[in-house]
Amino acid sequence: MIAGLLLFLVLPLALAGVVYALRRWATLSAVLSVGTALALGIAIFVLPLGRTVDLWGREIVMGGTISLLGRELVLEEVDRIAIAFLYLTAAGIFALAWQVSPRTMLFPVGFSLLSLLSGSLLIRPLIYASLLVEVAIALSIFALQPEDRGPTRGGLQYLSFSLLALPGLLVIHWLMERYALTPDNTTLLDASAVLLTLSFALLLGSVPFHAWMPAVASDSEPLASAFVFTVNNGAIWFLLLAFLETYPDLSSYSSFSPLVSSAGLVMVIVGGLLAASQRNLGRLMGYGSLADSGVALVALGMGGEQGLALALLALLVRPLGVALMAAGLKRLRAQCPGGDEPDALRGLARKAPWGTLAFLIGGLSTAGLPVSAGFAARWALYRALAPSDLSSALVMMFASAGVIIGVWRALSTLLSRPESSPVGTSEPGRDGLLQWWLLAGVVVLVVAGCVGIGLFPQLITPTAVRLASLYSFLGP
């Protein structure tokens, strides 16, 4: 009998080695990566917990507790949905990377990250989860670094900020253990709350610790950046929820909700305002993601199961927008040796139509425009927030308009006539024709998914609601 949860730790690590060895055969390694991530994502979602399943003559049991190096690994319903989210998001990003950046280091590094991040969701106590997340973040630098450019400053900043968060995460555990023994000593609880706030502000790129987000998006590999903004940050969100679930005193701390709401609102405002003024597409993506992260924090700050469900809904739909933006950005950069500065981008829409479409739809979804996946979360949040806090809802709507303005300006540059050498429409050669159709197919598929969720949010909302109902720390 095989313990199912070990599959999600060991198999990706083994795959990382295999995919790295197959890097020369880009299509093979990409198909293997997409297929495996998709299969594992579906498997963990579909296989019943606690029951033995016969798979190709082998018995697999999902759920339960196993011991590894003396530490407990526990698979519960919450972890199951969280890990499925990580794997399915990774599969989508791998599929886009297959078309726009097939020789990327993202495939092998991505599998290592999936293994470590899944481990962080399963392991108890939480100090080990924090350490595993930190190892994963340090490993991300290999995927973030573009092969044809100097060292990524964004990657260095990301690692630096995340490393500063580590002490807080580890010390909280010790402080809360002491607080459990001496509940009268509220200084311990105050210190834990401060450390929790600071640590997750650093990890999630909350203002004023947000510098790494636009930096990563502007000078790192775009799809690796999308991986960081969705998979890595997704795992960090689940780590935050695990902290709040494990230490309910922290979630019921008097200033927790207002602090989270304020931090989220500031992120939305700063992200929206700075996105509107960006002419560099990478930084636009970074600020768009910053605003989107802020939306989830505002939802969490609302409190109750509804707030948590909205935060999780924002988290679940984010990958569609960010990954599309990143794929578009990569495609546009590949067509444009001058980087993603405005002068170099003029008229590029005719040369890279699929890249432009991906960037446009991804950007609009990140901004939360109607008929996009991002709108599903935003609209539900505006409706829930408006009766109690109309000003915050209005501020968020205006700030989201900032991201739309940024995307609109980028689109007008991409569609404008170039000042010098005219750009013709892309004419793929016979060899490139199949590649061109494949790219078109993958982009159209993801765009359809993005618009489909925007039109039919009921496809994903029940998952967010169910996930929220599994947490008990915020009460009804």
Binding site: I127, D148, G150, P151, S160
Partner: protein, 229 residues
């Protein structure tokens, strides 16, 4: 063996303050100096002093493992710098690898140019951070941790963050991160002496070192390509 352990315990108890001084000197040197050979030597010595301090609170074997991880990182950095130098040499830069040649070149540089503005600024900033660390020991005492330990922690964390802020070179940024981690480890090892935590913290240090080595090699390779074009 018990005799050896007793002897070591006595040495360590006498060596606590000198070890803190050693940590201070090496950390200061790492902030001020931009000579990679000197810096790697300082980092290796710093790992020795940190391990020496740790032997007061954890088993000698565990402290030795931590020192070994540090020295392996120094080795990885040394090999990376050599690789980067050979890549740069390939694009035409002359380099003398002998110790005497290096020393004469440094001496000549100091005679001609004196201390650089960057080094002077680094020195002043390091002094300010060190004074702040000294003040923090009494202002924000760390419970369960001896005073000299706390001073070493604050020094390493403060000077590590300073180095992170002042540098753009991947290896120097990496050294800043490792100093920060060493400082935190010095404090955390008292709270959680678990071997798994030691292993995971060591893994973080090692992955950071490998990542920085990778970035440094890319930096050397891309600057080489730019020179060639």
């Amino acid at each position: 063996m018990p005799l050896l352990n007793d002897l070591l315990a006595r040495i360590v108890s006498f060596a606590a303050m000198p070890a803190v001084v050693g940590v201070f000197v090496t950390a200061g040197l790492l902030v001020v100096s931009r000579d990679w050979r000197l810096n790697l030597l300082a980092l290796a010595v710093q790992y020795f002093f940190v391990a020496l301090l740790m032997t007061q609170v954890i088993r000698l074997e565990v402290a030795a493992v931590k020192a070994l991880i540090g020295w392996l990182i120094c080795l990885a950095f040394y090999l990376t710098e050599q690789q980067a130098k050979s890549l740069t040499r390939a694009s035409g830069e002359r380099s003398d690898l002998s110790f005497q040649g290096w020393f004469e070149a440094r001496l000549d540089g100091w005679r001609r140019e004196g201390i650089s503005v960057r080094a002077a600024f680094g020195f002043m900033a390091a002094v300010v951070v060190s004074v702040a660390a000294y003040a923090a020991v009494s202002a924000v005492p760390i419970s369960q941790v001896p005073e000299e330990f706390a001073l070493a922690c604050y020094l390493l964390i403060g000077l590590g963050i300073l180095l992170l802020g002042l540098s753009q070179d991947p290896l120097r940024v990496g050294v800043g991160m490792l100093m920060f981690l060493s400082g935190f480890d010095l404090f955390y090892v008292v709270l959680e002496p678990s071997l798994v935590v030691t292993g995971l913290l060591g893994s973080i240090s090692f992955v950071i070192a490998l990542g920085m080595a990778y970035l440094k090699t890319i930096q050397a390779a891309t600057s080489d390509e730019e020179t060639a074009t």
